[in-house]
């Protein structure tokens, strides 16, 4: 019999603080990819509403109710966080993604300036306000980026966590040096 110890995707790498910016791990308890089957979009929204008080988010948007969140992550796809996907069974392709992503939270007043060094999308508050969630690039890697109260959640593939953290730390340091 085996006993398996779990390691987080950012084990030993976080948190980091440079200047006014902090990068920390922010892994949700559970991530489920939700892809409504053909013609089941409305039913999925209804089920999400009933079970978690959420809907299926519009492109670029995220919804939250308590700890449960759902982020739009692409064409016909959303990530349901911290919530049981079972009520959606049969309505959508459900795939466990909990371990596939490293979730980093970047907070601080110039967080958008830091991400502006890696992300080719306008993330300033006016363009990327509360409830925003997109899929884009973090330098050379794909990322899901969502606005949270005091900064951003950045989800990258688990295997690339070290590179993502290294690149974020580089810009955090550079911004801190610029003052």
């Amino acid at each position: 019999m085996a006993e398996l110890i779990a390691l987080s995707a950012t084990e030993g790498l976080l948190p980091l603080t440079h200047g006014a910016l902090t990068l920390a791990g922010a892994a949700p308890d559970r991530i489920t990819s939700v892809q409504p089957f053909k013609g089941k979009e409305a039913a999925v929204t209804k089920a999400l509403k009933a079970a978690h008080g959420l809907g299926f988010p519009a492109p670029g948007r995220a919804l939250a109710k308590g700890d449960a969140r759902i982020l739009w992550t692409g064409r016909g796809q959303a990530f349901l966080l911290n919530a049981d996907p079972a009520p959606l069974a049969g309505l959508a392709a459900l795939t466990d993604q909990t371990d596939a992503w490293a979730t980093l939270r970047l907070t601080g007043p110039a967080a958008d300036q830091a991400l502006a060094r890696l992300v080719p999308v306008d993330l300033r508050p006016a363009a990327f306000g509360a409830g925003s969630a997109i899929r884009t690039g973090l330098n050379h890697m794909m990322a899901v980026i969502a606005r949270v109260d005091d900064g951003f959640d950045i989800m990258v593939f688990r295997s690339m966590a070290a590179t993502a953290i290294h690149e974020l730390e580089t810009v955090m340091k550079s911004l801190a040096a610029r003052g």
């Binding site: 085996a2 398996l4 390691l7 053909k38 050379h140 040096a177």
Partner: protein, 977 residues
């Protein structure tokens, strides 16, 4: 020398610096150029071809002559740094370049004496004989003589950065037009970025006197800047040069973040910006141009506007006795500035016969300069007018040949500027870059009042285009003078008159080009190299075009236009390539077992961005082969563990999933039952093999596809295409789960025993035949098990959520070791699969068809599939194809190399006889022989034949027997058993 009471320098902050080893002092606010001039240094560099002594021509980034190496501690240096842009800092050290042994005594100055033979394109006509001398003698000599500054040869370890920015209106340039544009846009509430190349905002207001709204221009600018600084919607960027205009409103800019600092203290050296602007206002001003006359390149000969800048902005008199040579009204302005500063004006030479008389200095009307003297700096000039020729003593000559609007960015999308005869200059064509609005001097408006009004006009146009209401601002009042110019490009009769200082191109060179029928402007440029030097033709393009027009008897617009390509200023590779250094070129992907593998001493090798262990050395093993042989042996005899998480895994669900798989695979998957796995072959639509792998049926309408590590992204994109573009109505959904699962191969006769020791429930053999799959639990964790084999042994792959990967790998390996097995790496994996004739991307190299690998029967005749039609083309099948075979050396100990070519025994190793090539090789400890996989012409029909294998690269020539590619266990009993 310094002028008292003048300049925007901080005299309370003296700064020591060195140039060519000599110590000097300047002040905060100086550039290297202004500080050198203040110290009386006029000779700063040597020209490119003739090694002529050169000084400082300009006060900006367009400088063609004053290029130096800026030295750093540790031996790093920046060549070709413009002394006119480099700000002074304490301890700055710079060195002149392109001279040997010293700036004053440069041996290659002999080239200047040879100039009659070194005219345009001379090298095309000589150095041809004897042929062997080109690479050995002529070219090295030319290379050594050419070039300017030196790279250190050391890695550039400095920090560089790239960034994105977004705004409604980007204003480029902060002179009167730019400030007015920025203010107008900012007050309307638009998000504004104001980018200025200089270290200070203000443009010509920093250098030229004049009132705006009843105050000094600079004071007005300060007021505007104070307001802009206070607005939350405005971002002011100094030391930032907009370098390129690209599609979709994207502009690039180079910020010199810490060039001006003795210690960057963690700041990047430069930042390369990608600015996405709703509209951009080009208010980059204009560049003064020189006039070509005899020996017009001596140190001390400067542009008039630069002379005014050195006097007013930096409080430096560039000479004791200054003369002025111009073809326009700025001659007077320059003289007035010098007189006001107390500098002697020796003479004003105005080429216009009707030049207005003013001021207390000698004016030569309708006059030109016909000669200059002074070896390392100007001493006197010869002036010719209607009364004859006379010599005027002078140590600084301020030249103005008129102004060229800074049209460069408007040319970046193939826009051609338009000739405006009124100002004898090119102005931007209408809408040359969508969304880029030129204004002020950049649009050919040369008065301050005109620039203010035009800046506002441009901003209003930008706001209007963005659908924003704009308040009407009262225009500040300012000088609204006229700009009268009578073109003078080159003084006639000169023996050597420079057009392109930086590349040593003279009027004669352009005329010679025309004489030899290189008469299109592009031919002239290429033949003479005019415009290809560090100043990018900024100082010479229009002049050279005018001389060419004259030489060919055409008007300027008829002759052609001058054009520019990005970048607007030379931009470092490091800035544009920021982040690429070291491991930054691509993300590094680490498996969950990475740390454990490294701990075991495994060399990690790159595989499709991942790192995978090559082999796991044990004490006493002296080379990789020993480790590899041992790992192969324990897999064949006991059990081995290998991390296979890097293989692509795609979760596929939906009512049409089976049908979808039938289309993308050559073989049928819709019949695959839950709990079963099938090997699949995937073709590109062009009929070649794209990838192979297994797909498991996890449940009804639920599959898990695996891809090779290298093709994971490619396959995902392909699936998306087939679904979205070809069959969007099919109910199928997919997502990558590569990262979700840590997956380990457990292979070998004792693999089941090993698994049984860790699984919560033991495996019942009857439930787990070859190619079965299903859920399992490991220590309470839900996992998946697949009975598949890439080694030919009885084997499994077990998967758990990635967080448990590290723990499971360590546990599996530890248990395997107690059973006489252990972890195996890529080398052993490769041997195991070669022994079994299993292919990887060494064989699926993009030219391989199903036919070539003997898998044509896998293309189901009962259904369509991607690539089926193209795979049936006559050239893709048949005996002319190279087909997969196995090779065994006749002497088993003879090593063979992948990449060797095959020939019939007794035939010469030459292309005409080529029979194929080797793709994979290994030493097989199992079969005690070297083995190879190869593609051989009509190979399946040639099993048993002896073939000659020649590897020129590794100097081997070996006879091999052609055989079936499956060397071991051809019936597959071991994997099934």
């Amino acid at each position: 020398m310094r002028l008292q009471g003048k300049g925007l320098i901080d005299r309370t902050k003296p700064l020591a610096f060195r140039f060519d080893g000599t110590q000097y002092t300047g002040f905060a606010g100086d550039t290297l150029a202004s500080a050198l001039l203040a110290n009386g240094v006029r000779l700063v560099g040597r020209s490119f071809k003739y090694h002529r002594p050169r000084g400082i021509l300009t006060a900006g980034s367009e400088e063609p002559n004053a290029l130096v190496e800026v030295l750093e501690a540790g031996g790093q240096q920046t060549p070709n740094t413009r002394a006119t842009v480099q700000e002074l800092y304490e301890g700055l050290a710079a060195r002149s370049q392109n001279r040997f042994p010293s700036l004053k005594r440069d041996l290659l100055a002999v080239n200047d004496l040879m100039s009659p033979f070194f005219g345009a394109g001379f090298y095309y006509k000589t150095f041809m004989w004897p042929r062997a001398f080109w690479e050995t003698i002529y070219e090295p000599a030319i290379r050594r003589a050419a070039g300017l500054g030196k790279l250190s040869g050391k890695h550039d370890e400095a920090l560089y950065e790239k960034a994105f920015a977004f705004c409604d209106v980007l204003v480029i340039g902060s002179g009167p037009a730019g400030l007015m544009a920025a203010l107008t846009a900012a007050r309307a509430g638009a998000e504004v970025i104001l980018a200025e190349e200089d270290s200070r905002m203000g443009g010509r207001l920093l250098s030229d006197a004049g009132e705006i709204d009843g105050q000094e221009g600079l004071a007005w600018a300060s007021g505007v800047l104070a307001e802009l600084r206070g607005l939350p919607n405005v971002r002011l960027m100094t030391r930032t040069t907009v370098t390129g205009a690209y599609d979709g409103g994207t502009l690039s800019a180079l910020e010199r973040v810490s060039h001006h600092l003795a210690d960057p203290a963690g700041r990047p050296r430069e930042c390369f910006w990608r600015i996405v602007a709703g509209r951009a206002v080009l208010a980059a001003g204009a560049l003064e141009r020189p006039i070509a006359f005899e020996d017009n390149d001596r140190p001390g000969i400067m542009l008039a506007s630069a002379v005014r800048s050195y006097v007013n902005r930096w409080g430096v008199a560039p000479g004791r006795k200054v003369t002025i040579f111009a073809n326009n009204d700025t001659a007077r302005q320059t003289a007035d500035v010098l007189v006001a500063a107390g500098v002697q004006v020796a003479a004003v030479i105005d080429s216009r016969a009707d030049a207005p008389t003013t001021g207390d200095y000698r004016l030569y009307r309708g006059a030109t300069i016909v000669g200059t003297q002074g070896r390392h700096g100007l001493e006197w000039i010869s002036v010719r007018d209607a009364n004859g020729e006379r010599r005027v003593e002078t140590d600084c000559l301020a030249v103005s040949g008129g102004w060229n609007p800074t049209v460069h960015l408007t040319c970046h999308m193939n826009g051609r500027p338009v000739w405006n005869p009124e100002i004898a200059a090119f102005v931007p064509a209408e809408n040359a870059v969508p969304g880029l609005i030129p204004c002020g001097a950049a649009a050919g408006v040369f008065s301050t009042a005109g620039c203010l009004a035009d800046g506002q006009r441009a901003a209003l146009a930008a706001l209007d285009a963005l659908g924003r209401k704009a308040p009407t601002l009262a225009l500040p009042k300012a000088e609204d003078g006229t700009y009268a110019i009578h073109p003078l490009w080159a003084v006639e009769g000169a023996r050597r008159a420079w057009l392109d200082f930086a590349n040593d191109v003279t009027v004669k060179d352009v005329k010679l080009a025309a004489q030899e029928n290189f008469s299109s402007v592009e031919h002239m440029k290429r033949y003479t190299t005019q415009g290809m030097a560090p100043d990018q033709g900024k100082n010479s393009n229009v002049g050279a075009l005018a001389v060419l027009a004259d030489a060919t008897g055409r008007a300027i617009p008829e002759t052609g236009t001058t054009t520019f390509r990005p970048p607007f200023v030379p931009t470092s590779i490091a800035a544009m390539g920021a982040g690429g250094r070291a491991a930054g070129f691509a993300p590094q992907r680490f498996t969950t077992s990475h740390a454990a593998s490294v701990e075991r001493g495994a060399p990690m090798i790159e595989a499709g961005l991942w790192y995978r262990p090559s082999y796991f050395p044990r004490p006493g093993e002296t080379n990789w082969r020993e480790s590899c042989d041992r790992e192969v042996q324990f897999v064949r005899e006991r059990v081995g563990v290998c991390d296979v998480s890097t293989l692509g895994k795609i979760d596929i669900q939906g009512a049409d999933a089976g049908r979808f798989l039938d289309l993308v695979y050559t073989n049928t998957f819709s019949t695959l039952k839950p709990g079963r796995v099938r090997y699949g072959l995937m073709l590109r639509e062009d009929g070649h093999v794209m990838d192979d792998g297994t797909t498991a049926c996890l449940g009804e309408n639920h599959y898990l596809m695996t891809t090779t590590t290298a093709a994971a992204g490619l396959v995902m994109r392909h699936l998306e295409f087939v679904h979205q573009a070809l069959h969007p109505d099919w109910d199928v959904r997919f997502i990558s789960v590569t990262e979700q699962w840590a997956q380990f191969a457990v292979a070998g006769p004792r693999s089941r025993d090993l698994l049984n020791s860790i699984l919560d429930e033991k495996l019942k053999p009857e439930d787990w035949p070859f190619m079965a799959c299903g859920p399992v639990r490991v220590g309470g964790v839900a996992g998946r098990l697949f009975r598949i084999s890439f080694s030919g042994e009885h084997a499994y792959e077990v998967a758990v959520p990635a967080r448990y990967g590290a723990a499971l790998f360590r546990d599996l390996v530890a248990r395997a070791e107690t059973m006489g097995g252990g972890a195996y790496g890529m080398e052993a994996l490769n041997v195991l699969r070669i022994e079994k004739g299993l292919i990887t991307h060494a064989e699926i190299h993009g030219r391989t068809t199903a036919f070539d690998i003997g898998a044509e029967k896998m293309i189901s005749a009962k259904k369509d599939c991607i690539g089926k039609a193209a795979a049936a083309r006559p050239g893709m099948i048949g005996p002319d194809r190279d087909q997969l075979v196995g090779l065994r050396p006749l002497s088993p100990g003879k090593a063979i190399g992948a990449g060797a070519h095959l020939f019939k025994q007794g035939e010469a190793a030459k292309r005409e006889n080529d029979q194929g090539y080797v793709t994979s090789v290994c030493w097989s400890p199992t079969l005690d022989s070297h083995l190879g996989l190869a593609f051989l012409r009509n190979g399946r029909a040639r099993h048993g034949e002896t073939i000659r294998l020649v590897d020129h690269m590794r100097k081997t020539d070996v006879l091999c027997e052609v055989c079936d590619p499956v060397f071991l266990d051809p019936t597959g009993g071991r994997a099934r058993g």
